[in-house]
């Protein structure tokens, strides 16, 4: 299955390894930041709604 990369095996594999790690890194970072920001905003919106209901009640 693995192609014979000959004397350039290290070159090709390191290029793929580093690139895939960088791509995975930006995807994971973006997803983690998105989830964290969604949670923080939901908490802040809930605090705001709670404060508004407190004023009315």
């Amino acid at each position: 299955m693995m192609p014979d990369l000959g004397k350039y095996a290290g070159t090709v594999l390191s290029a793929y390894g580093i690139s895939l790690a960088l791509l995975l890194g930006i995807v994971v970072l973006s997803v983690v930041q998105a989830r964290r920001m969604r949670r923080r905003l939901d908490a802040a919106e809930n605090r705001r709604l709670g404060a508004q209901e407190g004023k009315r009640g």
Partner: protein
């Protein structure tokens, strides 16, 4: 219906929420398809040997490094002219993705260059303008972080984006302008005579589609994050004042 409807943050988030899973799924399919096809099922080049397999990463990453800056330029111009916050936030969201593609292009270029040119790096016009573009990306992101007022940050980063566009253009056309250096001209061309052989071209095309879709998916997701960050900032300011 007008495109400017999406300048409304609520509308943008609602629409991008629907589109995002599809774009992300297609990006994963195209990226995996292009890279697996290129790595496992294409022949060696008669001169470059198996290093030609780096082509499927290097070329799409380099293309998207420049195109990401072009997208940031358009979004920045929209911010300057029409003052739509979503466009400024989309430009901000695209920068970390663009810098990742630029880094991939630089690193894979160096790794490929070592056995082919006998050096990791040369102060060649295209390589140098690409390095400057990378530094512009870092400067652009640092400027957003350095300025607390989001509108002022959007204004100043938009100007920086306009200036950096010179290097985005040079990164693409430096070989044609100076006609010197180690880096060859464009490998991909609409002219069948100049384009790479079909056996390399088709998997590269699939990988390019994958990179484009990945960029779109990440920018949509990160723009949503930036819109929420802005809203959170407003709510926290109100909490402090109230």
């Amino acid at each position: 219906m007008s495109i400017w409807e999406y300048a409304n943050p609520v509308k943008f988030i609602a629409t991008s929420d629907k589109v995002l899973p599809w774009v992300a799924g297609l990006a994963a399919l195209a990226l995996a398809g292009g890279l697996i096809w290129g790595f496992f099922f294409t022949p060696e080049d008669y001169r470059q040997g198996s290093t030609v397999k780096i082509f499927y990463l290097h070329v799409p990453a380099a293309m998207m490094a420049i195109n990401a800056w072009a997208m940031m330029l358009v979004a920045s111009l929209i911010w300057i002219v029409r003052r739509h916050h979503v466009s400024a936030l989309a430009a901000k969201a695209a920068a970390p993705v663009g810098v990742t593609f630029t880094l991939i292009a630089l690193v894979t270029g160096a790794i490929w260059g070592q056995p082919m040119w006998g050096t990791w790096w040369a102060w060649d016009p295209r390589l140098t303008s690409f390095l400057i573009l990378f530094l512009f990306y870092l400067g652009y992101m640092a400027l957003w972080q350095a300025i607390e007022n989001p509108d002022t940050a959007a204004d100043l980063t938009a100007v920086l984006c306009l200036v950096g566009s010179v290097f985005a253009i040079l990164s693409r056309y430096a070989v044609n302008f100076w006609n010197q250096g180690l880096h060859q001209g464009a490998s991909l061309s609409m002219d069948a005579e100049e384009n790479v052989a079909d056996v390399f071209w088709y998997p590269a095309l699939v990988a390019i589609v994958g990179f484009v879709l990945l960029f779109v998916a990440l920018v949509l997701l990160r723009t949503q994050t930036e819109i929420r960050r802005r809203r959170l900032h407003t709510l926290e300011m109100r909490e402090r004042m109230g």
